[in-house]
């Protein structure tokens, strides 16, 4: 690792990010002064800032760059990146950020990338859960799923994730994608972030609890859109 100039990390949660960067055998123990770090995970802004402070002490220039998009976009360089950090540092790794993304957006200092990402995921998870609840009502009332999808996909209730995930969901395909437990985790991060800001996030709390019920009902490991199946199976004809 001693001859490498840029270290990127993409890990599932803040504890793993902390361990990867700050742990006793972590990246900062081995990184050379003057090298760059690019942290791509969806974690809380405070953990990102702590990693950046520790990196700075070692002479490592840290960039906060969470991503929007799934495995397919990751593999084809079509992610959207939210990039926080020193603008000169970001310019130095511009070719890396461009190789990963169809677009990258500057969000401000280190930590702001994670903030924008958490806000995005709050909205995305909310859109999926509300769509699942509403869609299940429509089909329970007798509208054919394919027809309902077709009409809604051109109507005001649609969202990015509705268009992307529901065609699979109505075929009973819940292969991830984006796992339900990651959606629940991101909402927990957003709620906790709101708490540190004294900013209420009541809808996120309800949506997180619904996803926790989905996980408890056995949908762990499946795509977040499996919440549609959870709602469908809750329904009992009277």
């Amino acid at each position: 690792m001693h001859n490498r100039q840029v270290v990127l990390s993409s890990v599932p949660n803040a504890d793993t990010a902390r361990q990867a960067w700050l742990g006793p055998t972590g990246i900062l123990q081995f990184a050379q002064p003057g090298s760059f770090g690019i942290e791509l995970s969806t974690i809380d802004p405070e953990t990102m800032r702590q990693i950046a402070i520790a990196a700075h002490e070692k002479g490592v220039r840290m960039i906060d760059a969470p991503v929007s998009g799934g495995p397919e976009e990751a593999a084809t360089g079509q992610l959207v990146l939210m990039v926080g950090g020193d603008t000169e540092d970001i310019a130095e790794v511009d070719n890396i950020l461009k190789a990963l993304s169809s677009a990258y957006h500057y969000t401000g200092v280190v930590g702001t990338g994670k903030t924008v990402k958490l806000v995005n995921n709050m909205m995305a998870m909310g859109n999926i859960l509300v769509a699942a609840e509403a869609f299940a009502l429509g089909t329970a009332a007798g509208v054919e799923p394919e027809l309902l999808f077709s009409v809604l996909s051109g109507s005001g209730g649609r969202s990015h994730h509705f268009l992307k995930r529901f065609p699979n969901a109505i075929q009973g395909n819940f292969k991830p994608g984006f796992k339900l437990e990651l959606g629940e985790k991101d909402l927990a991060l957003a709620i906790e972030f709101g708490r540190t800001m004294n900013h209420p996030t009541p809808a996120a709390s309800v949506i997180r609890e619904m996803m926790a019920m989905g996980l408890a009902a056995g949908y762990r490991g499946q795509d977040v859109v499996a919440m549609l199946d959870f709602y469908n199976k809750m329904h009992r004809d009277t």
Partner: protein, 45 residues
Amino acid sequence: MKHALTFVGIGQMGSGMARRLSASGFDVLGFDISARVGILPRQAA
């Protein structure tokens, strides 16, 4: 200038990104994380 890259966390998202960077001409070394033993070398993406 092309950088030499180390990619930590080559799971579902990370492996795709590491492969993409490799295909874009970067020299990429992949690592994965184990909670017990820190950073483990794994097959480069």
